[in-house]
């Protein structure tokens, strides 16, 4: 039944995207004067309002970067908070221009749902957290045989959990809850040995535990959850802009260009950096995208490079303190690889 509904939605979405695509999104956005960006209603580190009610987070900052690339101003963006259910409809119906809502890149979404994923802004995956005081000596998920595991109902998390334990011939006892808060409370009260959800979520959950330091996130990742921004199919120019904004953020980090030093870097002698920042006189990189040639300068001034965005929202600069791990640059053993801008 679920497949059937998804199919119908998908085909309806495709039929619509065909007509929506004929309009150039970039021109629409420029005419409107702002970028409309779909984000999560609230997910720690990715999109949430701060004390002043402004949106903050990694997904939010990516939208600000795209807005900066287009308008030279990272504030020219409006956010639409979307639930997991209405996110694709919102993109297909043209309500939003870009979906930056911790959405996993899958083939089904890329094809049947008519999306184009521009990159992976955060490599996530389902993991486990345990109370190290209760289970001393456990440092791998493979030692969890016979454990009771707290999990939220009706999510793919539950399926991944079952798959992982049966694939490794281990017994487990799922303790299923309807709501996030219930799951947290039960785990904190010691009703289960382990807690499973996406790893980025585990770090947020840990902050709400009565003794956070006792809890350890295990290294195993049992599912691939590459999260990234997506756009409608059929508008290649718009797709390129979003995609290369992402690569520009990565390249800037690799070249050591930060929010603080971007103006000095414009006078750098390195041809790579000069090309990236549009300082070469004959450069056409920005205009070829439909933007101005100082688009990367604008992005970095608005949000900083990828590393700065990461550290500010989920890394050491935030209470979440998530390590870069696989999200480090390829030069540092991670998976983030910015395609060359030349």
């Amino acid at each position: 039944m679920k497949k059937f509904v998804t199919g119908i939605l998908g085909s309806a979405a495709l039929a619509l995207s065909a007509s929506a695509a004929s309009a150039a999104t970039l021109d629409d956005v420029k005419a409107k004067g702002f970028l409309q960006c779909g984000v999560n209603t609230s997910l720690a580190g990715f999109s949430a309002p701060n004390d002043k009610g402004e949106w903050t987070g990694l997904d939010v900052d990516f939208c600000r970067a795209v807005a900066a690339a287009i308008f030279g101003d990272g504030e020219k963006v409006k956010f639409t908070a979307l639930s997991a259910k209405d996110r694709f409809t919102a993109l297909q119906s043209g309500e939003i221009d870009i979906l930056s809502r911790n959405t996993t890149w899958t083939i089904n979404r890329d094809t049947a749902l008519g999306l184009n994923f521009a990159g992976v802004t955060y490599y996530d995956g389902q993991g486990f957290m345990i109370n190290a005081k209760k289970l001393p000596g456990v440092n791998s998920a493979l030692q969890l045989s016979g454990a009771s595991v707290c999990v939220q109902a009706g999510t793919t998390t539950e399926l991944n959990l079952a798959d992982y334990f049966s694939a490794n011939n281990m017994e487990y006892n799922p303790v299923v809850f309807e709501k996030f808060e219930e799951t947290n409370a039960a785990y904190d009260a010691g009703r289960c040995d382990a807690y499973t959800t996406d790893q980025s979520g585990l770090y947020a959950v840990r902050l709400q535990m009565s003794s956070p330091d006792d809890h350890v996130v295990l290294p195993e990742i049992i599912s691939k959850e590459p999260l990234g921004p997506s756009v409608r199919q059929g508008d290649d120019q718009w797709f390129d802009i979003v995609k290369w904004t992402y690569f520009a953020l990565l390249n800037a980090e690799e070249a050591g260009i930060t929010q603080a030093n971007v103006d000095e870097m414009k006078n750098s002698t390195s041809p790579d950096i000069r090309r990236l920042l549009g300082s070469e006189s004959e450069t056409k990189i920005g205009t070829d995208l439909g933007l101005s040639n100082d688009w990367v300068v604008n992005i970095i001034k608005a949000t900083g490079n990828y590393g700065e965005i990461f550290e500010r929202n989920v890394g050491t600069g935030s209470p979440l303190k998530i390590a870069r791990g696989v999200n480090a640059l390829w030069t540092k053993g991670g998976l983030q690889y910015g395609m060359p801008i030349r």
């Binding site: 580190g45 309002p49 004390d51 639409t80 979307l82 409809t89 003794s211």
Partner: protein, 386 residues
């Protein structure tokens, strides 16, 4: 008539004596209400024990052990959690609420435009309070302003875009503002519409009757959640791309139609309780249909169903929380959003504090409505009690 030398009847009244000790005073009250039978005594003791156990804990958690000032989560953390409070501490984390108070009230309504919301609120109170106090004259003018002019004033003030006011899109609205806007529109639309539907359902005109019955039964037969879902997820796929309906408007229409259908049935209950003689009496006076309904039937019927009407209002007030599923943030939605999404305030106490705050606000409004309706019932009671 004979005269007796001895009188058998006292000539003066005996002075009144105090009631026996067993019938008056605190002791008697206690015995009568709390310890009348062994079972009741036992229940009283159990209840007292539960109160003695729970109330100090609650007060401690809410007030005495609570943290009142702080800049971020570290203010509400114990030493083992990385803060400075003694291990094992538990208490409300009120600085979370104070730092987010603006959001809980206004959502993400722009900071420098919030005076507009407060002005709207002030006008609302200034019009509502005199309307609710019977002694104050000019009721007609007051009602006309409250139900007729106020919606327009509120619309222009809150939405803006005219008279030099900045346009504030409804996706920025949130918190108590959204809760009250939806409730106000629901109440103001549902009562008259519900009365009309109830009259329609009892009408002798077949088409009017059929339409009323179909509307009431259809709307009552579908959960509000479903309607909000359809309006939010399916509607955008069927309208031309780029064309969007305001989400708040969708929610307003959904909630108002819903409340109307329920209200219609409540009012119909009142209509059915009016004896036939009242209708016939009105007819014999030569009153037309609207005069009959407006002067004779409705005043009696509505008075009878005040509890039902207020019940519907309270239910609707709480149903506004469902708009969270179409990503509108009412009071509860904003509280939830701030709890789950914000690492700067993530502590074990944050969620409890936030939910208790939301519950308290909802309780104040619902309790207020309930007390006012009880008072109104007593005032309008003209001897129909059975």
């Amino acid at each position: 008539m004979q005269e007796h030398s001895m009188s058998f009847v006292r000539t003066e009244m005996t002075p009144a004596t105090a009631a026996p000790r067993s019938q008056a005073g605190i002791g008697a009250w206690l015995r009568k209400n709390l310890f009348s039978t062994p079972l009741n005594s036992a229940l009283t003791l159990v209840a007292l024990l539960i109160l003695a156990w729970a109330v100090p804990r609650m007060l401690n958690w809410l007030f005495f052990d609570a943290i009142w000032v702080g800049a971020d989560r570290t203010a509400c953390l114990t030493t083992e959690q990385g803060g400075e409070l003694p291990a094992g501490w538990s208490g409300a984390c009120w600085p979370f609420v104070t730092s987010r108070f603006g959001q809980f009230m206004f959502g993400r309504y722009p900071l420098d435009e919030r005076w507009r919301v407060m002005l709207t609120g002030a006008i609302f109170v200034a019009l509502l309070v005199p309307l609710m106090i019977p002694r104050i004259p000019w009721k007609r003018l007051n009602a006309a302003l409250f139900f007729g002019a106020f919606p327009f004033i509120a619309y222009f003030l809150l939405v803006g875009g005219v008279f030099g006011l900045r346009y504030v899109e409804t996706s920025l609205w949130g918190g108590l503002l959204v809760t009250l806007v939806i409730s106000y529109v629901g109440i103001v639309v549902s009562l008259p519409l519900g009365i009309l539907l109830a009259l329609g359902r009892r009408s002798h005109m077949p088409i009017v009757k059929l339409l009323s019955v179909v509307f009431i039964e259809t709307v009552r037969g579908v959960p509000l959640v479903t309607v909000l879902f359809m309006a939010s997820f399916m509607l955008p796929l069927f309208v031309p791309p780029g064309m969007t309906f305001d989400k708040l408007l969708r929610a307003l229409i959904g909630v108002a139609l819903f409340a109307s259908a329920y209200m219609a049935e409540v009012v119909r209950g009142g209509l059915q309780a009016i004896p036939r003689g009242q209708y016939e009496g009105a007819d014999s006076l030569g009153l037309g249909y609207w005069q009959k309904m407006g002067l004779i039937i409705m005043p009696q019927a509505l008075k009878l169903v005040i509890p039902g009407i207020v019940n519907t209002f309270i239910g609707m007030f709480k149903d506004t929380t469902l708009v969270l599923i179409i990503s509108m943030f009412d009071l509860l939605g904003v509280v939830k959003q701030n709890i789950s999404g914000d690492p700067t305030w993530a502590t074990p106490q944050t969620a409890k504090t936030g939910y208790i705050f939301a519950a308290a606000i909802f309780w104040i409004f619902c309790f207020g409505m309930s007390r006012y309706s009880i008072w109104m019932e007593r005032r309008l009671d003209t001897g129909h009690r059975r």
